[in-house]
Amino acid sequence: MNEQYNHPEMQTAENLVYKRTDLLVDRPLSYCPGCGHGTAHRMLMEVIEELNAQDNTIGVSPVGCSVLAYDFLNIDMLGAAHGRAPALATAIKRMWPERYVFTYQGDGDLAAIGTAETIHACNRGENITIIFINNGIYGMTGGQMAPTTLPGMRSSTSPYGRDTHIMGHPLRITELIAQLPGTYYVTRQSVHTPGNVRKTKKAIRKAFDIQAAKKGLSFIEIVSNCNSGWKMTPVQSNKWMEENMFPYYPLGDIKVDGALIEKKAPAPEKE
């Protein structure tokens, strides 16, 4: 298979249209095939490469599927305890104000166990970037219900579907933190189509530029699929995401330049 593509004589500068960024470590990702994490990692590292900021960036990884993100991102990283990444990033940025500092967190990490750290880092207006991957499930521990699991959605701890009367409601934490005066740029994106990938990269670049300008906290939610946890094929999961996740978690900017974007209320819960 490899031989078919291995033609060194063709790999010349004028033929080079795409190259994996050197800021991704050359090793197999630990994510399931079809998962959005790998693309999100690549967009993040491409932005850091464009900014020539490998030596000027410190990242914080979470507990969850992306617990090993530090193995793939070729920059200095700290692995936080579950939910505490914004606390680590707060201290790092305050003591290294010239460094780019970001956290990369999932929905269980950021919106359940780390809710206090998330809200208070946002409310203090820490000059950092938070990348929030929302796939509506605890992926790494085997598909349990997350704070973001949709009503009626099945998981290993809501095997008959999430009953909001018993299990509470899915948390739109991104809309919640957008209300805080400390947040400067809040957006919700996805990486399931080439067009969306490009928009996500633009959002990450914008967030890093905001850090450089010391304007405050940027929060980028990436609604993502979890084909393993949702028990679907990657294609099915992306379709399901469009049909079910996006109505409840609508894509687009929520707050730009410190001002909320006026838009119609997102869809109510489906029981």
Binding site: M77, L78, A80, R84, L88, I92, H120
Partner: protein, 360 residues
Amino acid sequence: MGELRLMKGNEAVAEAAIRAGCDGYFGYPITPQSEVMEYLMAQKPYETTGMVVLQAESETASINMLYGGAGTGKMVMTSSSSPGISLMQEGISYMAGAELPALIVNVVRGGPGLGTIQPSQADYFQAVKGGGHGDYKMIVLAPASVQEMSDFVKTGFDLAFKYRTPVMILSDGAIGQMMEKVELFDPIPRRTEAQLIEQCPWAATGKPKTRDHIIITSLDLDPAGQERVNLKLQAKYRTIEQNEVQYEEIACEDAEYVFVAFGLSARICQKSIQLAREKGIKVGLFRPITLFPFPEKEIRQLSKKVKGMLVVEMNAGQMIEDVKLAIGCDLKIEHFGRFGGIIPAPDEVVKALEQKLIGG
């Protein structure tokens, strides 16, 4: 001679942090130690030395802020009291696992639970035996005066960076609140970023082209790898036990009996020695200054010369276990404790000595 001041123990900790060249303090208010952050906020060191002072939303957040700062090589500290220190056990365990230097001050109050705001020594086990999950230790320093509250901040940071480990100052509500004369050490300038990067090549400071990326973590999913991590930690603790024991002996030369006490209890025992000797009882004091590493050899040596030991603690009997482990069964060792925030009076201690050891 350094600058002399009359200060509370809590204020001495805060002043010493600024003078030690600390880069960041992160804390959350709790009685009886809130003066630490109050003093720092009033002094505004961020305008002079550049030290960051930040009030966090919880002790969970403040200890994880320490983890973040320490992982980048910065000299960071927090202070709290017992219930807050319980919340910090998660972060302390992670820092021990990731081998990060940090200073944690526990101005102990009575427990369990919300307990009381009065002084206690009931957090000995939590401080000395690990406290959080996993096999780890931290160096524990027990000050018995406001002077030592100041001095141990510097000692604590030195040890934390020497061994890349969290260090705890285990104080109590009385030492934190009482005012005494302190001789302050001369200010040490904060390290520049270049000095930090040179001194802490292990720290995540931003990856230059010249080295591999640095990962600060306590995670190793490979059991063989995690066992290696543990063996390395244990080897470090054995080195600390070899090199860093500190203790004090008072009036032990001719002593037939010995009080064993740390921190505030040791201060009380000094008066008890005086009262007992007026009655003709030859008693001395053995004061462990480092609770981990515990002065095992030294107390075993002393035990050979005396008839009995009374371990005096403001708890139900915690350090006595380490005394007995060090000495074995050859000597009569009794415990006297008051707890729940009660501070024993010196004559109570003498009475306990007479009843439990001499008369018994």
